[in-house]
């Protein structure tokens, strides 16, 4: 996995990447100088978040297919889908769309551990080091399901027993067995399929596949610690964090999702948004 590697920011700047970085720094007001400033402070990982702008989702499902291709997701399983629901009475009918994926929950406000990780019998496991953008190290424990310091909820199949406890623990139904994958510790069972937020792409500096393809640009992904990121600006503009109870799914579950919704039409009040884990919440169905 990429988080085993270590390379400092300084090494990076010495290399061929420097030109690109310098160019970026001149436009995006942080870059090298900001890295230096942060160097004096405590190591700080990015804080990845996704904003779904529901004004922009047209229900095209390009995201769903991009994800299928990116991961070769088996038929019958989806890591991200768009639900839709007919509301109102003719002729005042509307059909809102609700894109969903793993919420990459921060975990409840007391212990900061999301339910999937909490219920995973193969967590915690080994000590790992997370290298921050400015070259600092943050230690954490991995597991079959674990939270990385940048907030991503990831899988390490080599530990996985295929017990499925994380599947039932997730109140959103964001996890399923992966028919293309044998569980690392028990090959009679399947491993888990779920959204990784395209960690392998983020770690190489490119947005998740669903964000890349989204024709309506309804999916915005970035680092909340970077005030200049589009995602941070949207979170600020629409007070998505302050109004968490109205901008995230199933707030009463106290999972503290890192997926936020810009939702002027109150799509999060529809039945599809309120339904607690059901088998079909991540089954993509087009009406």
């Amino acid at each position: 996995m990429s988080d085993k590697f270590s390379a400092t920011r300084r090494q990076m700047l010495k290399g061929a990447g420097a030109a690109g970085l310098a160019a970026a720094a001149s436009l995006v007001p942080s870059g090298h100088a900001a890295a230096k400033r942060r160097g004096r402070k405590k190591a700080k990982a990015p804080k990845w978040a996704m904003v779904f702008d529901l004004r922009r989702c047209v229900g095209c499902r390009a995201c769903t297919v991009a994800c299928k291709a990116e991961y070769d997701v088996p038929l019958g399983v989806w890591n991200t889908v768009v639900n839709e629901e007919m509301v109102g009475r003719y002729p005042d009918t509307r059909k809102p769309c609700l894109p969903i994926r793993c919420n990459h929950c921060a975990g409840n406000r007391t212990d900061g551990v999301p339910p999937c990780v909490k219920n995973c019998p193969e967590y915690p496991k080994q000590r790992q080091k997370y290298i921050t953008p400015d070259g600092k190290k943050i230690r954490y424990r991995d597991g079959a399901t674990y939270k990385r310091p940048d907030g991503l909820i990831l899988l390490k199949n080599e530990y996985c027993t295929g017990c499925g406890k994380c599947i039932t623990a997730c109140p959103y139904g964001a996890r399923a067995f992966n028919k293309h994958l044998k569980a690392g510790k028990d090959t009679s069972k399947n491993g888990i399929a779920k959204c990784s937020s395209c960690a392998h792409r983020i770690d190489k500096g490119v947005v998740p596949a669903c964000v890349n393809i989204c024709p309506g640009r309804a999916r915005v992904f970035g680092d909340l610690n970077d005030k200049n990121s589009e995602v941070a600006k949207l979170v600020k503009e629409f007070k998505l964090k302050e109004k968490r109870d109205k901008t995230t799914l199933l707030p009463k579950k106290d999972t503290v999702p890192m997926n936020f919704y810009i939702d002027p039409d109150k799509v999060l009040k529809t039945k599809m948004a309120k339904k607690v884990y059901k088998e079909d919440s991540f089954k993509c169905k087009v009406n």
Binding site: S2, C60, V65, Y90, G205, V206, V207, I213, V286
Partner: protein, 837 residues
């Protein structure tokens, strides 16, 4: 200092990202905070982290033909996404585009030439070599040609655009000498195109969402399915969200566009023209028309009429089209019509859009003309933010052998005699019926390409019977990658690759009025022995003794890139292979092109004459009977030079397929001489006037995750959409005693289908809606549950496939019925009965 745009940032993101990714130095976690994540155009394996090799190309999953890129891993194409450097697609792709991978690796692919071994349609096939297949075919073709009957070779294509059309139609078929060439536009939106050719000359309208302030939509669904979907979708969303542009949608169904619009206004099928005309009346009466644009409008027979005279003529014509009248016809409240009319006229610029919801009707061309009028009287034509004549790139290409005989053709392309007045895009759905009738000749060889005549035309039963009958069609050849309903009835199948294995230059319309040049290049070599049909025609021509001057599609595309101005200077073929796209960064958007004045010397050229009746300057040598005058002379439009307006001569709204003047013609002499209404008029749909108790109107539509008839073999799409229950409004369902989930029978004059009812608030009462995509009885296991005779089992999806329903196809109950002006098949007009099954 130059202002930094969002687009610059995206580009920069890519640049820095690419350096990091490829330098091999950066192996840590992402660069948070300081560096913006790149938007795309690089990808990595989730398993190994290795970068996937990127190849630029172009999509073909629908007619949009978006520029895209694909990623390779272990020699396989694994992923497709939009091309960030494209000014049309801006790096976006849709679900059908993304699922193109499934087209390439469809286990049902036809990989070898196949010859029928049993009875036609029996499903028995023998694999043959290309040499055998082409020797036989070339022998038959050559004989017809040598006998002086090239017209007995009929070639019928569905989608064939850009370089494929040039190579196959304009070079190969033209040099061969047949003019018996059919298309499928009359199944799509030919009524719309004919309406445009009669008004502003050349078909295809671009909607300038980037600059508009108001969008009025009659029956189009650019957020769901459209022939320029991805370029338009994102711009409409941007306009609505970023600039708070209001969008009002008239539709019989709560389409995804209607659902996302500021307002959905339900309307009775086929009555959009009435609403548009009533709006025109309100605008004219309120004096809100654009006097400047009226200079270019023709509204009376007199080409020198003043603006006041034209306005008076229109007011007189529109007098009876009151909003109250329109309300009775359309069920749209008169007050709504009035307020929208005034808002549309007062908001500058505003863009009126429409598509198959208005086109696929008896009165489709009239609907188009009424909507064109709405745009014209408010001056929203060819202007920033309005409805613009589309701009496409002007590729230069090798034109093949100089010696091209005058084409001979069978008169089976434009419908039965005296049924259609201006079949400017042919009447393809009548071809099989005309072959059956026999009076106008029958092709000895019927070959089709990217077309599924049995399934895509109305009345599937008749189509099947005719295609099966060897006495009507003695020899049939199918060019296809997939075993669809028509391939199953062929005598010879030539295995085409998927579009991800062939070359093209492409010419999709721009959304910004700046043309974009782009190419399609193969990601992998054609699978099995499949061969691009463009390469095959080079061989066939050689075998018949008229080599085309190039050996392959790749060579044709190379020669085109290396001779097209702009592309050539940018580096030609090598540049295009590497970058995929090119546009002139200095090009200004093409607006107001009609205002260009014709040079005085062009009017003095040999043969150019002035036509008093129309005010048109034209080269009379282009016609065989110039004395008939511009309007009536054969193909006079080919000699059009300019339109005299006042004391100037303008390029104007030049004609493309009919002898119209250079005015924006609201008044059409061409329609008048054919006994049609000269000014845009509302014509009720005859069958809808005679509907009895319990009769419903069947309407059809598309969903965003399937593309017409050609994607049901894509597992990632069909697992999302494999059933299409019939949608019925609760009021109508109650009257019929039908509930959601009931088995129902839809019966029309041509047949019946059995399906399930879905009672929904998202549709107008009195109709039943069935989508077009499903109900395949071939096309492989994902589409129909049926394995193609030559299919393999080499796709893991076959074991994972979980759906067992395949939906229904509405064309079993829709007839082949041409609209009187254009010949468009009336897909939205069918009157039917719905009963419990």
């Amino acid at each position: 200092m130059k202002k930094i745009t969002r687009r610059d940032l995206i580009k920069l993101g890519i640049a820095s990202g690419v350096v990091l990714a490829t330098s091999g130095i950066f192996k840590g976690n992402a660069l948070a905070g300081a560096i913006k994540l790149a938007a795309g155009n690089m990808d990595f394996s989730p398993k190994t982290g290795a970068e996937r090799k990127m190849i630029p190309s172009a999509c073909w999953a629908c007619n949009t033909r978006d520029a895209m890129v694909g990623y390779m891993e272990n020699g396989r194409l694994v992923k497709l996404e939009g091309q960030l450097d494209s000014i049309r697609g801006l790096g976006k792709l849709c679900s059908k585009g993304g699922a193109g991978i499934n087209q390439l690796y469809d286990p049902g692919r036809i990989l070898y030439p196949m010859k029928r071994a049993g009875k036609r349609g029996e499903g028995k096939w023998k694999r043959v070599s290309w040499e055998e297949a082409l020797t036989e075919l070339a022998g038959r073709l050559k004989k017809l040609r040598d006998d002086g009957h090239p017209e007995k070779f009929m070639f019928h294509y569905g989608r064939m655009e850009a370089s494929t059309r040039k190579m196959v139609k304009d070079i190969f078929l033209k040099t061969y000498g047949t003019g018996t060439i059919g298309n499928d536009t009359s199944l799509c939106e030919s009524a719309k195109w004919t309406g445009q050719e009669l008004t502003w000359g050349k078909h295809y309208d671009n909607w300038d969402f980037d600059n508009t302030k108001f969008v009025l939509n009659f029956g189009a669904s650019p957020l769901e399915a459209h022939s320029n979907a991805i370029p338009l979708l994102q711009r409409l969303v941007d306009a609505m969200v970023e600039r708070k542009v209001k969008c009002v949608t008239f539709d019989v169904r709560l389409s995804n566009t209607a659902a996302r619009s500021t307002e959905w206004v339900p309307i009775k099928p086929g009555t959009d023209g009435a609403v548009a005309l009533a709006m025109c009346k309100e605008i004219m009466d309120a004096g809100l028309y654009d006097k400047e644009f009226f200079k270019f409008i023709k509204a009376t027979p007199n080409p020198a009429a003043s603006t006041d005279e034209k306005a008076a003529a229109l007011k007189k014509h529109l007098a009876s089209y009151t909003p109250e009248w329109a309300e009775k016809i359309s069920n749209v409240p008169a007050a709504k019509i009035k307020s929208l009319a005034l808002e549309f006229a007062k908001t500058k610029p505003a863009c009126v859009i429409n598509y198959r919801g208005t086109a696929a009707h008896y009165n489709g061309t009239e609907n188009e003309r009424a909507i064109q009028m709405l745009a014209a009287i408010t001056g929203n034509i060819d202007n920033p933010g309005g409805r613009c004549r589309a701009v496409t790139p002007e590729w230069q290409y090798p034109e093949g052998p100089k010696d091209k005989p005058e084409a001979k053709k069978l008169d089976i392309l434009d419908g039965f005699p005296d049924t259609v007045v201006y079949p400017t895009h042919h009447v393809s759905h009548q071809v099989l019926d005309m072959i059956k009738a026999g009076k106008w000749g029958r092709p000895d060889i019927y070959m089709w390409y990217c077309y599924n005549p049995v399934y895509s035309n109305g009345n599937c039963k008749t189509n099947t019977d005719i295609m099966k009958d060897e006495s009507l069609i003695p020899y049939s050849v199918c060019v296809n990658a997939y075993y669809d309903e028509s391939a199953a009835l062929a005598d010879l199948i030539l295995p085409n690759p998927s579009y991800l294995e062939w070359w093209d230059w492409e010419d999709g319309p721009s959304a910004t009025q700046v043309p974009e040049y782009y190419i399609r290049q193969p990601f992998v070599k054609p699978l099995g022995e499949s061969r691009d049909f463009k390469d095959v025609v080079c061989d066939l021509a050689e075998k018949m003794g008229f080599p085309l001057g190039f050996k392959s599609a790749e060579e044709f595309v190379k020669l085109s890139c290396d001779q097209t101005p702009g592309v050539k200077e940018a580096g030609g073929f090598e540049h295009m292979k590497k970058q995929g796209v090119w546009h002139d960064p200095k090009a200004k958007p093409d607006y107001y092109m009609y205002k260009i004045e014709v040079k005085a010397e062009d009017l003095k050229k040999d043969g150019v004459v002035f036509d008093e009746v129309t005010g048109v300057y034209w080269d009379s040598k282009k016609s065989k009977n110039p004395d008939a005058g511009y309007t009536k002379a054969k193909n006079a439009y080919e000699g059009y030079v300019g339109q005299k307006i006042g004391d100037k001569v303008y390029k104007g709204f030049y004609p493309d397929r009919v002898n119209k003047s250079g005015y924006f013609e609201l008044y059409s002499e061409l329609l008048k001489i054919k006994g049609q209404q000269s000014l845009p008029t509302y014509t009720p749909i005859p069958e809808h006037e005679k509907m009895g108790a319990g009769d419903l109107i069947l309407t059809t539509y598309k969903v965003p995750v399937q593309g017409a008839s050609r994607t049901a073999n894509c597992k990632w799409l069909t697992e999302m959409y494999h059933d299409n229950p019939a949608k019925i409004n609760p009021k109508t369902a109650k009257e019929l005693g039908i509930k959601s989930g009931n088995k129902i029978k839809i019966t029309s004059t041509v047949g019946e289908i059995t399906t399930t009812a879905q009672v929904t608030q998202g549709i107008v009462p009195g109709i039943v809606a069935v989508s077009h995509h499903l109900g395949h009885w071939e096309y492989g296991r994902y589409a129909s549950g049926k394995k193609a005779p030559m299919a393999t089992d080499n796709d893991p999806g076959l074991k994972e496939k979980w759906w067992k329903t395949y939906g229904v196809h509405p064309n079993w109950v829709i007839s082949n019925s041409p609209a009187p002006v254009s010949g468009q098949n009336r897909f939205m007009d069918t009157v039917c009965k719905v009963t419990k099954a």
